[in-house]
Amino acid sequence: MSLVLTLASRNLFQDRLRFVATLIGIVFSVVLVMVQMGLYLGFGRMVTTMIDHAAADLWVVSKGASSFEDLTLLDIRARDRLPGIDGVAQVIPVVIGFADWHRQTDGRVKPVFVVGSDLNAGALVPWNLVDGSVEALRSTDAVAVDRTYFDNLGVSGIDSTAEIRGQPARVAAVTDGIRSFTTTPYVFADLSRARAYIGLPPTKFNHFIVRVRSGADVKSVQHDIQSNVPDVDVLTPAEFRDRSRSFWLFGTGAGAALFAGALLGVIVGTVIVAQTLYSSTKDHLYEFATLRAIGCSNGYIYRVIVWQALLNAVLGFALAAAIGFVVVQITAKSALPIVITPTLVGGLFGLTVVMCVGSAITAIIRVIRIDPVMVMSR
């Protein structure tokens, strides 16, 4: 092993207080970026959870619908035109809307977000069931709720009752982990029950899930629907997901805020590492000048500084990753879980390395100006 790494590591560990301060700066920066980006990913997943769990080949939504939660209505005439289009096998209506949930226990009212679709089609039914069944939702007044919201809804499990928009509702199925990013609980019901809870006339719908015939080309069917029904948007699940994410993350400014936080983390980290590397380099200026005097190339000295930066990056990132792992565990069951994917971890490591090595530039600029003759005067 070259002495470059030895020199770099010993320079780094020589002043332990400075080293600890550097690590704290890097860890703070990386954890901040990790949490912001984890929130971004978590939020991005939550806003598309219905689209992700629907068995759809295509979504027919109102023109310019921003997301699954867009309450703009489609007329029955649009639905009537869809089955006749070549390649369309099934058209499953979806209704959504806010409604008031009256708790039986204390009469308090809580807003809920009702999701209704044809249960027989099975295109958008509750998932992660921990009690009851989808079959049970076919019974009178049956609804499915998530157990996370039991306290909020004043229910305790199967057969608990409440009123939605003045009509009876009975818990027939319980899910786990279907949480809404708006904090308003989702309530699943059969299409007709949901329509009644929302107060929607039978001629109105929010979206249609389209399934194409086996062997049909989805893109071609999408094009045909769009041509025949021009007053709607026809989207693949991926397109609908992108549109929803784009609206919630960037249309609302939430994503920009998360990115701004992440950028702040990068700036703080870069400044801290740059400052400590620069001061470390200044402390070792005579040593670098000695290296230069004995004929060492600039490249050798840069390698010492860059190795210092890399060591900072690796150690800081390892600590930050451990903290990130704990944060993921803690928030896993929260309203907005922080999602850290392997890609995010890889990207963050790359960012940490770039941040630390980039921070070495100021130190390198200082070293470039070293005059070896300075060792003669001391």
Partner: protein, 238 residues
């Protein structure tokens, strides 16, 4: 005819700018041959260190040319000068300039490491040189655990380990007591006479003159006279 290892031809050096400008070295000619220990003496501010820096390619002359092993340093950039130093010159400094975070062996090995020598070979060479200088038991010691004399011996080991053609030493005994100073000069004299290197020692200490093959006197940036072994005195300037 034996070519000099380092040769200065009509070299001048102006330091500073404006009103503070000083002509530190004036139209100086000098050649250092292998196998000789040359002592450069002169009062403070006479230009000794500037001359050493010019000969060691740490400074470039304002006028004239310095040749190292036949290579002209004229027009050479910092990286080229560093390469010349790396290939041909070993330095010994008054304050040793050892790396406090490296052991004695690592400090010596550094001179080989910057030359790209492989670790195992560099380690063996470094230990051999330290052994030769009576520091076999100190290879793993850090500079803070070494006496001044031991530190300077490590510094000389660093200067000679890469087998340079010339060794330039700036007041190498100034921070040492008499006995250690004598020991250091013995090592430097041996580097010259047994290993054929050109060794130039800048000093104030007249006790070291006994080790010299040539003694050069400098004053106001110009060599005034020279003494050679046997007591011959040559006047160089009026």
């Amino acid at each position: 005819m034996i070519l000099p290892i380092i040769e200065a031809r009509n070299v001048s050096k102006v330091l500073g700018a404006g009103a503070g400008q000083v002509r530190a070295v004036k139209n100086l000619d000098l050649s250092l041959a292998g196998g000789k220990l040359i002592v450069l003496m002169g009062p403070s501010g006479s230009g000794k260190t500037t001359l050493l820096s010019l000969l060691g390619c740490m400074l470039t002359p304002t006028e004239g040319t310095v040749f190292v092993c036949g290579h002209s340093t004229e027009g050479a950039g910092p990286e080229q000068l560093a390469k010349i130093r790396r290939q041909h010159i070993g330095f010994v400094f008054q304050s040793f300039h050892l790396f406090p975070t490296l052991t004695a062996e690592e400090n010596v090995r550094l001179a080989l490491d910057v030359r790209g020598e492989r670790r195992r070979r560099a380690q063996t060479k470094s230990r051999e040189v330290l052994e030769r200088f009576g520091l076999a038991h100190k290879v793993a010691a850090f500079p803070r655990d070494l006496s001044g004399g031991e530190q300077q011996r490590v510094a000389i080991a660093r200067a000679v380990v890469a087998e340079p053609s010339a060794i330039l030493a700036d007041e190498p005994t100034a921070a040492l007591d008499g006995a250690n100073g004598q020991a250091i000069m013995t090592i430097l004299a041996s580097a010259a006479r047994q290993h054929g290197r050109a060794v130039l020692v800048v000093t104030h200490d007249t006790r070291l003159l006994e080790f010299a093959d040539r003694i050069l006197y400098i004053e106001d940036g110009a060599l005034t006279h020279e003494e050679r072994t046997g007591g011959n005195v040559y006047r160089m300037r009026a």
